[in-house]
């Protein structure tokens, strides 16, 4: 067994940097907006790729709409319901309206979402919070003419044909400035967002999973949340042979998983106790990483949990391993991690209540 000091001594600097990097990355992608109720809520900025995807979808829809107009007017003309002059007059009008007002209409109507954004799960919001006002929608979409349609036209028509060197340079400068604008600011704003005071954010979606500290996690209940709990028992068949007997009533709810053979009464028998000193080894970041590990599902989930459990046991110097080399047996892994998670959370939450947030193990 390697000593805890040795493992931290040589891994510390890069690990700490990595941790800081992860925290900064998250801060880079999220923004806080203040609600009128005085509570700040956070939003995640949309990825440039997602935005590109949304705009491409919208352009496809615009193309389809224009095709639809042509077909409809053509049909009306051929069937003799409409004379050619009306077809031309309406055609001009419809093309103009669709090109200039497609984005505007949907963003006003669907509160900052166009069909493309809806599919990509994005929405436009006001940078200062509050209702997305109509003038903001006007501003960010009226500029599309120079920002999107003209560069597109230039690119499609082969930029720089017959304009001379300066003309070509100017064209590419134009295309470059507008196209790459979102890459040159932290908020990933295009010019339209800049002048409208808006952000494009990911429409947030997160499911409420079961509380990992709940007592009854091991007894397979028929509660509505039970579906999300099965993953904790997913022990590969080979491993479960060495563990305690599989109980027939244990149900695996995770869709693709088939093996869940930890008996319901077994974990309650196993008790691990942790001292405050042991718990103070870790901070909030590690607690929440452990939460991810515990919620993990998939074929390798058990292996990861076993590795993490033994790593923790070594680091805090917990003498609980029942295997010959002192490590945890497969049957011990889940209860050890669960109880450690719970104890650590209790400890950190208690400290936090007293105004002492331990952010990470380096804190």
């Amino acid at each position: 067994m390697a000593s805890p000091a040795a493992t931290t001594a040589d891994g510390k600097k890069p690990a700490e940097r990595k941790l800081l990097g992860a925290v900064q990355e998250k801060a880079r992608q999220t923004r806080l907006i203040s609600t009128p109720e005085g509570v700040q809520v956070s939003v995640a900025l949309a990825d440039r790729g997602e935005r590109a995807g949304a705009v491409i979808l919208d352009l496809i829809f615009i193309g389809l709409a224009l095709t639809g107009v042509i077909l409809a007017l053509g049909g009306l003309r051929l069937s003799g319901l409409m004379t050619m002059d009306w077809v031309i007059a309406l055609g001009y009008l419809m093309f103009f309206l669709i090109q200039n007002f497609y984005f505007l209409f949907f963003e006003l109507r669907w509160q900052g979402r166009t069909p493309g954004k809806k599919i990509m799960n994005l929405r436009v919001i006001d940078r200062r919070g509050g209702t997305l006002s109509a003038d903001a929608v006007f501003a960010r979409n009226l500029i599309r003419e120079v920002e999107l349609f003209i560069p597109m036209l230039l690119l499609l028509s082969g930029a720089g044909s017959g304009l001379g060197a300066w003309g070509t340079l100017f064209q590419w400068l134009w295309i470059g400035v507008f196209l790459f604008f979102p890459f040159f600011n932290r908020d990933r704003m295009r010019v339209g967002d800049l002048i409208a005071g808006t952000w494009v954010v990911v429409s947030p979606k997160a499911a409420l999973l079961s509380d990992l500290s709940e007592e009854d996690r091991y007894s397979p209940q028929t509660s509505p949340e039970a579906k999300q709990r099965g993953r904790l028992q997913t022990v590969p068949d080979a491993e479960s042979q060495t563990g305690p007997q599989a109980a027939p009533q244990t149900v695996v709810q995770t869709a693709a998983q088939t093996a869940a053979q930890a008996p319901p009464e077994e974990p309650s028998k196993l008790r691990f106790t942790f001292t405050d000193k042991q718990l103070d080894t870790y901070g909030i970041f590690e607690l929440q990483t452990l939460e991810d590990v515990l919620r993990r599902s998939g074929p390798e989930a058990y292996a990861v949990r076993a590795a993490v459990a033994n790593r923790i046991r070594q680091k805090i110097g917990h003498a609980s391993g029942a295997a010959p080399d002192g490590s945890l047996t497969p049957g011990q892994v889940a209860p050890f991690l669960d109880q450690f998670y719970k104890a650590l959370r209790q400890r950190l939450e208690a400290r936090m209540l007293l105004g002492d947030r331990k952010e990470s193990k380096y804190d």
């Binding site: 907006i33 109720e37 006007f138 002048i195 997160a206 939450e349």
Partner: protein, 334 residues
Amino acid sequence: MSEMILKSAVFRQEREKTWQELDAIVTQIEKKGVRSLTPEQCHRLPLLYRATLSSLSVARSISLDRNVLDYLETLSTRAYFCVHGARGSVLKYLRAFLFVEFPEAVRAAKWHLLVAIVLLLGGLLAGHWLVVANVDWYHSIVPEGMAGGRTPEASAEDLRAVLYAPPEDGEAMLHVFASYLFTHNAGIGILCFGLGFALGIPVFLLIFYNGLMIGAMTGLHATKGLLPDFVGWLFVHGTTELLAVVLCAAAGLMLGSAVALPGSYSRLENLRRQGRLAAKVVVGAVLMFLVAALLEGFARQLVTDMTTRYLIGTTAAVLWAAYFILAGRGRPHG
């Protein structure tokens, strides 16, 4: 193991029902819109929203369960969009826009408007003077396609015929003409706004050149003794159309000046303020282009009496001036 019961877990158990109820309502709004809510749900939404926001505050200070934190965070954000994202009816907004916001935005842009008008008039006078002094200038200013047969080589009779031409093909093509004019002009107006982002320089050039072309035409007609007739022909729709043109130019200049001269705000904040005002001016101007196109497409072609043409144009100009100066003053915002 009673000592292992966590405060944060108890907190969650007590509040979970509220969150889930809000979640259901918010999901329904996201999928089917606000209108699908029952009166009971409408009543519950703000209560649940505030309760969940308070849960979020509490959770941030007592809980380290990241799933709960993330869930509350996203649920609050989603509910926030539902509660504060909804806007009033379109009709109501349209009224507020036409009677308060548009004239207000135009008044806020008055200095830019003045610059645009001066540029346009400067171009107009320069074009007029150049062509009157030497008629050959006309060809270098007005492109062949725009001239439509109105060249120095044409006789006064030909020019007069264009000005008082009865509608081609009867009245059938007027709506085509109007629709073309509207989309063409409004498109240029929107372009003018966007070009403003390049420090307004393209806008200066565009508006000056526009003036130059009109000036060249007045100059040409002046040399043939048709100046009053041409101005009357232009006046019917010109007062409305040129006003819309200078408004779009003013919006572009507003944007350009916000990029170049941030003033007392940060550049970002200034752009946001000016950009929104300018956008309102452009949307209003697009509506004016519609009016202008109707005047140009129908009124000008149907009314061939010079006095009536002046009357229509002047009335329009006076009405626009009164509208921009008076409408929406002293009203509360929103």
